[in-house]
């Protein structure tokens, strides 16, 4: 190598270091907070006081993910500094899945009714779904785990679903390690992915979840203590049991696309019907009562009657992850 190319290279390295350093410095020091007063805003339809949501405001890191409640048509921010990509709350305990304070990792914070953090559980991927059983005994969390392009390994994504013992605040099990059966026979494949647990409101040991394998998305019914699950039927994702335990709201994939319609399934008869929402919804729906579903399209929270009648209505603007709260939190 000539002396000249050496000099060019050194100059180029210096230039890159300066340019890159300057860009990062400006990004780090510059205002990373927009000055708008944007925050979740109540929609026009319901005068409810029993819904928790997280704020959707990606351009404003200090607002994005903050937890709010709907209080008689007004949206109020709760105290504390939890920032969640997904939130759930039941029986006095909450799960907040988000980016760790370090900014480089994912964690779940368990919190109490005063929004005080009780415990932290490290997560191995992007937060997706969270649920807590009605009696507050178990929690469940699903994350997306990314493969990595190291060593040419597959970069396909997979999911992991944790079971949390809410009393100790520890993740005690993973659905990936449960035994699965289909038509009474053991069932296993390399591409098994599990997501979206919902707990039976009358028996927290019993739960439903989704198993994805090949082109199939099976509804599973399982037992935490028995560490086993069985396939009930195909075409059901992100099940959500109604408060009376009689119906399951779920998302139904449209063909092989990444688009879903919300549907409702009767647990006893396994008969199902659609709801009035016509847009694609990628969410685990939440029941506000035995007749009403709440869900988010990623930007706003809507409600729709569960029996297929009526129309969807806007509940909260700029919010996601709706949670039904016991009255008076």
């Amino acid at each position: 190598m000539g002396n000249r190319s050496g000099k060019i290279l050194v100059g180029l390295i210096a230039l890159c270091v300066v340019a890159g350093g300057a860009y990062v410095a400006v990004a780090a020091l510059g205002p990373n907070e927009t000055t708008t007063d944007a925050r979740p805003q109540a929609g026009a339809v319901l005068d409810r006081s029993d819904v928790m949501v997280r704020a959707v405001e990606p351009s404003n890191p200090r607002l994005n993910g903050r937890v709010f409640v709907v209080d008689h048509g007004k949206v109020k921010q709760l105290p504390g500094d939890l920032s969640c990509e997904r939130v759930y709350f039941a029986a006095g305990r909450g799960i907040c899945m988000g980016v760790a304070p370090s900014g480089v990792d994912y964690t779940a914070q368990l919190f109490d009714a005063k929004m005080q953090s009780l415990n932290t559980i490290p997560l191995s991927g992007l937060p997706s779904r969270a649920r807590i059983s009605a009696d507050g005994r178990y929690g469940a969390m699903t994350v997306f785990v990314s493969g990595d392009s190291y060593l040419e390994s597959s970069t396909a994504f997979s999911t992991r679903t944790y079971v949390v013992d809410m009393a100790s605040g520890k993740a005690i099990d993973q659905l990936e390690q449960f035994h699965v059966s289909k038509d009474g026979k053991p069932f296993d494949a390399i591409d098994f992915n599990f997501w979206g647990i919902t707990f039976d409101p009358n028996d927290s040991d019993r739960f439903y979840a989704t198993l994805g394998t090949g082109d199939h998305h099976y509804l599973l019914e399982g037992s935490i203590k028995g560490r086993e699950m069985k396939v009930l039927r195909d075409g059901v994702e992100c099940p959500s049991l109604s408060p009376d335990g009689k119906q399951i709201a779920y998302k139904s994939r449209i063909g092989h696309s990444s688009r879903w319609h919300l549907r409702v399934l009767d647990v006893a008869t396994l008969k199902d019907h659609g709801v009035a929402e016509t847009h694609s919804i990628d969410d685990q729906a939440e029941w506000l009562d035995n007749d009403t579903l709440a869900y988010s399209d990623g930007t706003n929270v809507y409600t729709v009657p569960a029996d297929g009648s009526g129309e969807p209505g806007l509940l909260v603007r700029d919010a996601s992850s709706p949670v039904r709260l016991p009255a008076g939190l």
């Binding site: 990606p58 392009s149 190291y150």
Partner: protein, 415 residues
């Protein structure tokens, strides 16, 4: 020579300094290692934060990207053969490799400019994959032609170690930037672009395009027929068959991780494997040059039995898991570069890129097929029996490879 020293200092200062006295690696190989390291820092920075970016900024499901990436992986494997031959035909391995690195760098620039749609990101991922497919064979040919035949495995070991060092550094740098400037993905893309541009610059400015073993200018350029004729060369054909058989029976690391994660929840499987690969690539390369590449290669494949054994156990402790991942890192160190070294030693100088491209393609197709078969067996028989089947097949493959590889090492009868 000061750049060489500087680049060595950039690696692991002390370890390297002590070893470099004995490690006689051509400057060109170290420079190619630098190029790969810078490019890998760039690629891995983006790969690491892409899921985060997709979900948090674009509101897209990460599954969308998984599908995109899988599609182009296959295409990239086939590009390798063509780019290898073109590099030989034009006698311009440096320029063809440069085109591959350049395409990836252009992709990074596009990410800064237009990375706010799913389609745009899909196209950029495709660019990156195709760039990788184009550069691999000519770059390996340059490594091979820059080294003496006696030091080939060490040279490839040095390159692979630097390459995986870049893959380790990339995520750290990306996270560092996001730590300093939360949610500023643009800053990560800009810095990633600069690394990619530097990689191309180091290639253009420091890498010698006509290294010492390069074919003489007065020889006619190789024809397509000559390149295709490589498969009829007895020694190379034996090597191809052995590589095919071995890759068909070794389960890909991605599948192994899925299996291990059914036994134990541990998020850093690939990080430990990559660190082990990085640390072992050079010493294992030196060992291969000293005691023979064929035994080291076969011992490397035998290391997979540790992982297969772990998959057969009903439960797995952390100690055993780490041992298992060290074994997997050792397997990569003893097979990845060593196989290229074996090929580099027996391929004619004017067909190095073609031959190395064929070898890499055969291995990646073999791995793809083994993944499909392993997945199907897992579904039909369960993980336990699938591992038993593959363990037995690998044992047979290693036994079959012994005579094939030993015969490929014998001097040709004529020519």
């Amino acid at each position: 020579m000061y750049q060489v020293e500087a680049s060595k200092a950039l690696l692991k200062p002390k370890l390297w300094a002590r070893r470099s006295a004995r490690l006689n690696v051509p400057r060109n190989v170290v420079m190619l290692g630098m190029v790969s390291m810078l490019t890998d820092v760039s690629s891995e920075m983006v790969a690491t934060i892409l899921p985060l970016y997709l979900v948090f900024s674009l509101g897209a499901s990460p599954l969308a990207l998984g599908a995109i990436d899988g599609t182009y992986r296959g295409a990239a494997a086939l590009v390798q053969v063509a780019s290898g031959f073109v590099a030989d035909r034009w006698r311009k391995p440096k320029e063809v490799a440069g085109a591959g690195y350049g395409i990836s760098a252009v992709g990074k620039v596009a990410l800064v400019a237009a990375g706010n749609t799913i389609g745009g990101i899909g196209a950029i991922v495709a660019f990156d994959r195709i760039g990788k497919g184009i550069r691999t064979a000519p770059r390996d040919a340059l490594i091979s032609l820059s080294s003496s035949k006696a030091g080939l495995a060490t040279a490839f070991g040095v390159h692979r170690a630097m390459d995986s060092a870049g893959a380790m550094l990339g995520p750290l740098i990306a996270f560092g930037i996001l730590l300093a400037a939360p949610a500023r993905f643009d800053a990560v893309f800009v810095v990633s672009t600069l690394f990619a541009v530097l990689g191309v610059a180091v290639l253009i400015l420091t890498v010698q395009g006509k290294p010492k073993r390069a074919p003489r200018e007065d020889k006619p350029a190789p024809s397509l027929r000559a390149a295709a004729g490589l498969v009829k060369d007895r020694r190379f054909a034996l090597l191809l068959v052995a590589a095919t058989v071995l890759s068909l029976t070794s389960v890909s690391d991605a599948m192994l991780y899925v299996g291990l994660q059914r036994k134990i929840d541990f998020p850093l499987l690939y990080v430990i494997t990559a660190v082990a690969f990085m640390g072992l690539a050079i010493p294992v390369g030196q060992l291969a040059d000293r005691v023979g590449r064929v035994p080291v290669l076969l011992a490397g494949y035998a290391l997979l039995f540790i992982v297969y054994g772990a998959l057969l156990m009903s439960s797995l402790g952390y100690a055993l898991l780490v041992l298992c991942l060290l074994g997997l890192g050792g397997y990569f160190a003893a097979t990845e570069g060593v196989l290229a070294a074996i090929a580099g030693a027996l391929l004619p100088e004017d067909l190095q890129a073609s031959g190395l491209g064929m070898l890499t393609t055969v291995v990646s197709i073999g791995n793809l097929l083994s993944s499909l078969v392993f997945g199907a067996l897992w579904l039909e028989l369960g993980l336990h029996k699938a591992v038993l089947v593959f363990g037995a097949a690998l044992a047979l493959a290693i036994l079959a490879a012994v005579p094939l590889l030993l015969r490929s090492q014998r001097a040709p009868l004529h020519g």
